[in-house]
Amino acid sequence: MAVQPAMPRSWRRESKPHKFCPGCGHGIALKALGQAIDELGIQDRVVFGCDIGCSLLTWDFFNVDTVQTHHGRTTPVMTGIKRANPNLICIAYMGDGGGYAIGAQHLVNAAGRNEKITVILVNNTQYAMTGGQMAPTTLPGQKTETTPYGRDVELTGFPTQGPEMVAAITPEGAYVARGTVSKIRQLQKMYVRALLNQIEGRGFSFVETLATCPTNWRTNAEKTWAFLEKQMPEYFRVGELKVPLTTEGAEEA
């Protein structure tokens, strides 16, 4: 008898198996998110918004009300919903291009206003759905379709430090962290704390999630894991960057 993989209750079975590539980090991030929703018992109150890019493949992923928006615009759509009906728990799910490039002004201003929404931003160091172009998060020297000789930081700058920026511009009450799909238990805990921050009305919550993209990295399993665990953390430090003082078990502020 085949062993059935454990699926979070809030996942929608009818849309599984999901549509992500083999080895994609989205599936792990979404499992951690599903478990967080289950743990908090909020499936009836969650509204999930997904962006453009690979994140849009989640438009029928959960058994929660979902809206797929435009590139970069998930943050304002979720903001609009939350402002109109504060009882809902709004999760904006996007990639690094959506959050740090085309939707950066929305992220910055939603963070500055301390909007009571949760943003989960998946960082896989490039635009994946469009075929692997440079993103704000591409590592120095990393080859993409638009940096065929490797990212030249003189010409295109260094990888965006998203959570560091969000931590710097959010008022007290915000929760900011960077997790990784290589540490799913820690990641799930971060999602729970981010959602709790929203539920308790403390402020904005933001979790950047380091994730794999073997398809565009052109890496096998071993190299994929090495890129995620060794190269990415050279630029992206995993951990909680900002935790409201009232949060139970706050580790570092």
Binding site: F62, V67, T79, G80, H106
Partner: protein, 366 residues
């Protein structure tokens, strides 16, 4: 405190922007999202002054993209939500409105046209007609009311929410900087006291019950994988838009039975056109007047009827042929001469229209 700011019918003296804010309260709108741009600012100024007294909300966003997308969030949460903008803001607004069009979301957008292209003037134009009727990467599945008076600004703001929630297409109230800042008397009223039904909004998201357990989840998207799938969806939109076309279209006309010259104008310019026509008819000239109130959908049958009974028609607008594009499209196949009177970005007076009409009729010029 719910209800309206002023009970009963009341004759008042107001500016157009204020009228929109008061009418939105009277329409029982719940929330406005907005970003500052002249000449629509007083819509926000008065909404924010009134909102807390009537348990309504406001969010000032970071730009018009966000104003449009938060408005989308508001309607999906089941609230009567609206925004207001102008000029370059209307350009940015087209991205969210394309999403509203694709997903049939009942957003209401108030446009106070200013000079263009680009930053141009903060004052006035009718240069956002094509943008407002057919903007975005789509097919113009939207309803656009072009108002001419403060009374219409009040009436059509209330109507815009009803039209949006009845038909589930985005609705635009297209006015201009003159209407925004001009002041004149009008009657404000509570639509409920007048027996006008206000269509209740419905939530797309967050309805009672656990999705997948008590009810299916609401999964809303605007992305399609294949041409055929998109075609299917759009055919549905086309059928629905064509079905409601004649229910929604509105126009105003005067003396169009048998004319030497028919004057076609919309919005605030139509006031000058109507005045000119009334005056010229008093002189015994055979001049008619036709004003589309809905620029989208265009009242095609009535317009064709009026044009088929005239020797030639003149399109008057504060733009370089935007209304005339829509008009000529509606008139395809009719062999009637058209004369333009285009004044992009500036107002048009009745005197100018009369002078040009006399040249055309009396002197037989072209």
């Amino acid at each position: 405190m719910a209800g309206v700011p002023v009970p009963g019918d009341k004759r008042v003296f107001m500016t157009g922007n204020e009228v929109v804010a008061y009418a939105a309260v009277a329409a029982r709108a719940d929330i406005m999202y907005g970003y500052p741009i002249t000449p629509q600012n007083e819509v926000m100024h008065y909404w924010t002054r009134l909102a807390p007294k009537y348990e309504k909300r406001f969010l000032q966003t970071e730009d018009e993209l966000s104003a449009g997308f938060t408005t989308i969030g508001g309607v999906m949460a089941g609230r009567k939500a609206f925004t207001a903008t102008a000029g370059p803001g209307n350009v940015l607004m087209q991205e969210p409105m394309a999403m509203a069009e694709m997903m049939r979301l009942p957003v209401v957008v108030v446009i106070m046209q200013r000079g263009g292209p680009s930053t141009a003037t903060v004052i006035y134009s009718q240069q956002e007609v094509i943008l407002t009727t057919f903007g975005g990467n789509g097919e113009g599945f939207r309803i656009v009311y072009s108002t001419a008076t403060h009374q219409e600004l009040y009436d059509y703001t209330i109507k815009a929410f009803n039209t949006a929630w009845r038909y589930r297409f985005p609705v635009f109230l297209l006015a201009d900087g003159y209407q925004a800042k001009m002041r004149e008397p009008l009657t404000i009223y509570d639509p409920l006291e007048r027996g006008i039904e206000l269509i209740a909004p419905e939530a797309y998201l967050g309805r009672p019950g656990t999705p997948g357990v008590d009810r299916p989840p609401g999964h809303f998207r605007n992305t399609y994988s294949t041409e055929e799938e998109l075609y299917e969806v759009l055919q549905g939109h086309v059928r629905e838009y064509e079905r409601i076309w004649r229910e929604v279209e509105e126009y105003e006309s005067l003396g169009t039975e048998d004319t030497d010259l028919l004057i076609i104008a919309h919005g605030v310019v139509a006031r000058a056109a109507k005045q000119a026509v009334e005056y010229l008819r008093g002189e015994g000239l055979k001049v008619g007047y036709f004003r589309p109130v809905t620029l989208r959908p265009m009242p095609v049958d009535a317009l064709r009827e009026a044009v088929s009974r005239t020797k030639r028609f003149m399109v008057v607008e504060s733009a370089y042929g935007q209304l005339s594009k829509l008009v000529r499209d509606a008139l395809y196949g009719l062999a009637v001469e058209m004369v333009p009177l285009y004044k992009p970005g500036v107002g048009v007076t009745p005197e100018e229209i009369m002078a040009r009409s006399r040249e055309l009729i009396v002197k037989g010029e072209s």
